[in-house]
């Protein structure tokens, strides 16, 4: 018995030593002559070749340095980043969502960059470029963007007698009635929008000339209760009630709209252009996209410009090299390759004519405030929409309360 125990303990000791050996070897390797890049896993699945090309270009110019790309998930990359800010060992380049930038820029997390160093920087997309600027300095380099489009069933539209695509929201509403007349299944939505999908709702607000919040001499003022914003919210409510059968308290992420589409219960849906990937084998051939119309003929509905920026954390010990890598990854050829994959490139001179890009011509963005992330996490806008659609509060009441709430959150020290 004793012998067996000694043998077991010995095995464990051997294992432990093995682990320690591999560990110390590994930590030594990362010390000198390499830079660490944190990109989101979307790049790993979507365009690994573009990453590889940038790495090659970088290593050709800097033969002694290796590039260590570590892929992150959106759900917790900020938590990890916080830990590295506190304890060191963080990346030299990090990909940040454009709505995540302001909070970190205000806290001094990034090193300032020289805008002129990067390709096409004079014609960067205004929406993206704004997310990388703070206090007059540039901290983030626009990487790529995506807008919102309508993905629709061409066959259902044809069957309902819709000969041309709607050019205004009122035309869209009447088209929706035609679709409803021809598709009586329970749960069928001519336009599938989650009631609390604030990306769609705020588009209406901006379409009517309203806004979410603006800074007046250093203090944030809520704009949701202004007459124009209220007109937009009312228009949204009418549009939703007339065209969508998704629950009023659903925010459009669960279930995924494209899953509902694949079940045959959707005439059209509003969302990112890549939604067309997953509409199911049955409907892929009959799926098309068009730009969501605004309420005025000839003007598109402003689309939310979602996207990513690349920044250099202030804890990096290779800031110059990091900036060089970003330059290689956002070079004209790199951005053209990203464009070919269906993304919106970071500069206006590289824009093509796809539906996605035409939708980006008129866009809106969230207030670039340090505490904007708290507004999103606090679900203020979503709750407001839920209250409006369920009739719990009038548009004016809900908007006023949300506006005050937002102002107080944004004005926190």
């Amino acid at each position: 018995m004793k012998r067996r125990i000694i043998v077991a303990l010995g095995l464990v000791a051997v294992l432990a030593v093995a682990v320690a050996a591999t560990t110390s070897a590994a930590t030594k390797k990362t010390a000198a002559n390499s830079i660490t890049v944190w990109l989101q896993v979307d790049a790993q699945t979507g365009w690994p070749d573009i990453v590889a090309a940038a790495n090659q270009q970088f290593q050709a110019a800097h033969p002694g340095t290796t590039v260590n790309v570590q892929y992150q998930s959106w759900t917790d990359h900020l938590q990890k980043f916080d830990a590295t800010l506190a304890g060191g060992g963080g990346p030299d380049v990090i990909e940040m969502g454009n709505t995540e930038m302001t909070k970190y820029m205000a806290a001094g997390a990034f090193a300032p960059l020289d805008k002129a160093q990067f390709d096409n920087s004079s014609s960067w997309l205004p929406g993206l470029a704004a997310s990388g600027k703070y206090g007059g300095k540039t901290y983030g380099v626009p990487y790529y963007a995506g807008s919102r489009v309508v993905t629709y069933r061409k066959d259902l539209f044809k069957q309902a007698g819709i000969s041309k695509l709607p050019a205004t929201t009122s035309e869209y509403i009447s088209d929706a009635q035609k679709l409803l007349a021809k598709n009586k299944q329970k749960g069928f939505s001519p336009v599938y929008i989650g009631g609390e999908d604030w990306y769609v709702a705020m588009a209406f607000v901006f379409d009517y000339g309203g806004g979410i919040a603006t800074q007046v001499s250093g203090k944030w003022k809520g704009l949701l209760a202004t007459p124009r914003s209220i007109a937009g919210l009312t228009a949204y409510r009418n549009f939703f009630l007339a065209t969508s059968r998704a629950p009023k308290t659903n925010d459009g992420t669960k279930p995924n709209p494209y899953d509902v589409y694949a079940q045959g219960l959707v005439g059209s849906m509003v969302g990112p252009s890549w939604f067309s990937c997953c509409v199911g084998k049955k409907y892929t051939a009959s799926t098309g996209q068009f730009v969501m119309p605004g309420h005025v003929k000839g003007q598109s509905m402003p689309g939310f410009l979602g996207g990513s920026d690349l920044a250099v954390p202030v804890t990096s010990s290779n800031k110059a090299l990091a900036a060089e890598w970003i330059k290689d990854f956002t070079s004209t050829s790199s951005e053209k390759a990203l464009h070919a994959k269906g993304n919106i490139p970071n500069a206006t001179n590289l824009l093509g004519n796809s539906v996605n890009e035409r939708a980006a011509a008129r866009s809106w963005f969230v207030p670039t405030a340090k505490h904007w992330v708290d507004v999103e996490n606090g679900n203020i806008l979503k709750n407001m929409l839920g209250q409006i659609l369920t009739g719990q509060l009038t548009v004016k009441q809900a908007a006023q309360s949300a506006s005050d709430n937002i102002a107080s959150v944004l004005n926190q020290p």
């Binding site: 018995m1 303990l9 432990a16 590994a26 989101q40 938590q79 830990a83």
Partner: protein
Amino acid sequence: MNSSRRNRRRLRQAGWNAVGLAVFVVMVFPVFWMISTAFKSNEQIIALKPVWFPLHPTLQHFADAIHKPFFWRDVLNSLIVVSVTVAVSIVIAFMAAIALARYRFSLREVFVVLVIGIQMLPQAGLIIPLYVVLARYHQVNALSGLIITYMTFVLPFCVWTLRGFLLGIPKDLEEAALVDGSTRVGAFMKILLPLMGPGLVATSVFAFITTWNEYIFARVLLNDQAKQTVTVWLSYFLGTSRNTDWGALMAASTLTAIPVVLFFIAVQRRIAFGLTAGAVRG
């Protein structure tokens, strides 16, 4: 008379078996749903009417899962981390449990409070300071750093549970062995260890599963995909801003559950052995 009693016993046994099977079906249904989804086509997965048994199962999702980068490497990492953690933790926890259950020493209450107290700490609050400490000793992005972290969180539970099992074994047994002339250590080995079989197994199964499924610390402490554990690998399915491949995620989850089940099947004989040992004791 004998046969009727035997029949009654058989009927009762059958009744218990029926109840057991019903419980099995209810408890295992979500797992069954996961496994059957792994074999369904994408259309069947989102179908409005649930598909119970996919009639034309597809292996595509399993192929997709295995071909996702670093699968085998991460499985190996998980195995290393979990084996070392469980092996070392059970040994030193057992030692500490013996001290608590069989000895009196003045710092005993303090130690007990420490052991229980650790489990009351909200783990979310410890992530950042833990990272800072480990970074100082270059234990970040290293399997050894993760192992020692897991041990810290698994030890209190192991000590506490093993102590409970030990307290259930009457000391008279060891005493009798001592009177018979065996040494203290010999008494532990010959008497305690066999009776502790079930307890040690249950505790090591718990330690195995907890460490195998742990996610938060593995995520924060390991950066290189080549060093990550399989739970972190799984999280990449859900962390993308694009569409999630549900079929592949279910297939991947099924695969990651296999080692745990194998481990349990390997050790569950010990529990049965413990039962018969009790009967022989009589």
